[in-house]
């Protein structure tokens, strides 16, 4: 909606008491507001202050948004910022409010709201998994739906092709070289690890072997692929600092459809 957002206050709906109050209290931190689909109120807030604003909305007695329905994100594509969307509901006052924070692609970081709502735990993990948004202060920010070692990036981003970044052959190779034992070890309990952020075109081994006709083919045996995988991760770590603008680089993988 960023393009044609209706700058409201003037829309002929009843003013939402929480929208008015949050604007009065936080002033500049409320960037704009919007009414969609007739009666759904959205407040756009300044990302660094989202935790503070949500805490107030949750605890202030006139608002009491004690129920966090949903945390999700929207990517409009084309380099536009990714919106993190919080769906709040007050069971006491029977009022709903949507709070959005827009994060530029160069800085996908926002405070976690797990200290306020336990419900945010898995929801934020999903947003991280699918969009790559890092939630600061999250107790256990790991991938949740995709496998831990998934190296193709974050699937719900618009720059992610529908069938994945690697070729089918490469995807098959990776799937077959998974070691089931890796997923049954006590390290399961090492929660609170550093989140894995994939800068996909730099994850050297994977992409290269996908484009390399000599190795694109069948599955590769256990030992070799294990070593390769370790190599992948290292490549990832090293390349993390340079290449600031990773989103505008065109896809390099071959898609053998």
């Amino acid at each position: 909606m960023s393009g044609d957002a209706r700058e409201t206050g003037a829309v002929g709906d009843v003013a939402h008491p929480s929208v008015v109050a949050v604007q009065e209290r936080f002033g500049d931190a409320v960037l704009r507001q919007e009414v969609v689909a007739g009666d759904e109120h959205i407040v756009y807030v300044d990302p660094p202050r989202v935790l503070e604003i949500l805490k107030w909305l949750k605890e202030d007695l006139d608002h009491l948004y004690d129920y966090l329905s949903d945390v999700t994100a929207v990517d409009y594509g084309g380099g536009r910022p990714i919106q993190v969307v919080y769906q709040l509901f007050s069971i006491t006052h029977r009022r709903a409010l949507r709070v959005k924070a827009e994060l530029p692609l160069s800085g996908l970081e926002i405070d976690s709201v797990v200290p306020l709502w336990d419900a945010a735990n898995w929801l934020e993990r999903e947003v991280y998994d699918m969009f790559g948004v890092v939630f600061r202060g999250h107790p256990d920010l790991r991938r949740i739906l995709m496998p831990e070692r998934y190296a193709e990036g974050h699937p719900l981003r618009k720059d992610f092709p529908l069938r994945g970044r690697f070729s089918r052959a490469e995807q098959t190779r990776r799937a077959l070289s998974q070691e089931p034992e890796d997923y049954y070890i006590p390290e399961e309990f090492d929660t609170g690890r550093e989140p894995q952020i994939v800068h996909w075109q730099e994850s050297g081994g994977g992409v290269e072997s996908a484009t390399d006709p000599r190795r694109g083919g069948g599955p590769v045996g256990g030992e070799e692929s294990r070593a390769e995988r370790a190599g992948d991760t290292r490549g990832n770590e090293d390349a993390r600092e340079d290449e600031p603008d990773r989103h505008d680089v065109p896809r390099q993988t071959d898609q053998d459809r």
Binding site: G38, Y67, W117, E188
Partner: protein
């Protein structure tokens, strides 16, 4: 908390008490000092392929003896990225994806999705369509609760209720079949209406079902509700307070079992639910037994709602008269050029939605099912998000089982009524 709801009288078996746990350890000679049996905690893995996990859920448990110290759920084994697929399909083509998420209550998902799209587009469906959708949703609420009832009974060790529940489910399958021609993958809704009007005699079938289901429920009631084994197995197990339940995002029967009367049908009414006469059962202890009681009562209330909806089912068209979303009739297509072009464009390009977005929550069988749709003016969504009730309910399982016994993990998991198709999406 509110006048609309009634406190459901929970019948308890007092002789068992809330804390039906073995207290004593192994019998040892008293004069000897108790040896220290403590050693390393054991790590065990349940699933992903295990009948009691209700799908491909994997639980990693750290055990101290039989006590669960930590529980880490792993999900994603059924991940098919429906939300991403949806971004490559037009609005009506997404409907078949929705019933593959929760195949235990497909009609609720069909309805919820198109309701969100209609709200975003500003399409108001006909009165008949509203009532038909209410019938569909209540029918599938029973459909889903019946499956929960059967598997729940098996998980606590009773086999007979499973057969009773599946006998009743078969009748709902047949009603699905008569209406849409499919037993599970219904895809019954379209933006602006339903795929077809109700077939002749279908409402009689629904009425017959709503009349006779309570009898089966009574039979299951006599088997389970005052059954000492069942009560002892479930009372005081997996307890969560109302406050914690709200904070954890619990919804649906699980939340109401903790004494919070939050029901989307009452608190954020849609489709005239405020004009129907029904009660929201709530529990008071927040344990597995209360979740059982709440769901049993919800099925009876849904029967009640089915009767009311059937009584008020108005005549008239089922599809809205809006050329933006509804195909012209076949006769018109064959007779005039404009209708033919219109038909062609709607089919080839899909229904176009103006830019906007909407979050539409409905009371699904598992909890608050929210459909969040975002459009940029095209015929395909920019984002289609499902607020998955089972996903959020399952995220609480570590809190419910940690400190309890290993055997209770299965009971707690069964009491949450999860469906992995929707958790993994």
């Amino acid at each position: 908390m509110s006048k609309r709801t009634v406190e459901y009288e929970v019948s308890r078996t007092p002789e068992l008490g809330m804390d039906f746990r073995p207290r004593s350890g192994p019998v040892l000679p008293t004069e000897l000092e108790e040896p220290d049996f403590r050693s390393e905690n054991m790590l065990i893995n349940i699933g992903p392929q295990h009948p009691a996990t209700h799908g491909v859920l994997r639980l990693v448990l750290e055990l101290d003896g039989e006590t669960v110290v930590r529980c880490i759920p792993h999900i994603g084994y059924l991940h098919s990225s429906f939300e991403k697929l949806g971004e490559y399909r037009d609005w009506n083509q997404i409907v078949p994806l929705t019933d593959r998420m929760d195949y235990l209550a497909p009609l609720i998902y069909n309805c919820a999705f198109v309701m969100a799209v209609e709200k975003m587009m500003g399409v108001e469906v006909t009165e008949r369509c509203k009532v038909v959708r209410v019938i569909c949703m209540e029918l599938d609420r029973i459909f889903s609760h019946l499956l929960w009832l059967g598997t729940w009974a098996i998980d606590v060790g009773a086999f007979t209720p499973f057969l009773y529940a599946f006998q009743e489910r078969e009748r709902v399958y047949q009603l699905h079949d008569q209406y849409v021609g499919a037993r599970i993958t219904t895809s019954a809704t379209r933006v602006g209406g339903m795929l077809a009007d109700l077939p002749e005699g279908w409402t009689d079938g629904v009425r017959e079902f709503a009349n006779t289901l309570p009898r089966t429920l009574d039979e299951v009631d006599t088997l389970l509700t005052n059954n000492g084994i069942h009560a002892g197995r479930t009372q005081g197990v997996g307890v969560i307070s109302g406050e914690d339940a709200i904070n954890s995002g619990f919804s649906g029967p699980n939340l109401r079992a903790s004494g919070v009367p939050y029901d989307v049908r009452k608190d954020r009414p849609y489709y005239d639910y405020e004009t129907y006469d029904f009660e929201v059962p709530i529990g008071e202890h927040g344990d597995c037994y209360d979740r059982y009681l709440v769901r049993m009562e919800e099925m009876r209330q849904s029967c009640h709602l089915l009767h009311q909806a059937l009584d008020r089912l108005p005549e008239g068209p089922i599809n809205v008269d809006d050329p933006r979303v509804v195909l012209p009739s076949k006769t018109d297509c064959m007779n005039d050029m404009e209708s033919m072009i219109h038909h062609f464009k709607l089919v080839m390009e899909g229904v176009k939605s103006p830019p906007g977005e909407s979050y539409f929550p409905v009371e699904g069988s598992k909890g608050e099912l929210g459909m969040y749709v975002v459009s940029d003016g095209g015929s395909k969504p920019v984002r289609w998000r499902v607020r998955p009730p089972s996903f959020v309910n399952l995220s609480v399982i570590p809190k419910l089982v940690e400190g309890g016994l290993l055997a209770d993990v299965i009971v707690v998991n069964a009491s949450l009524d999860i469906v992995l198709g929707e958790i993994d999406r």
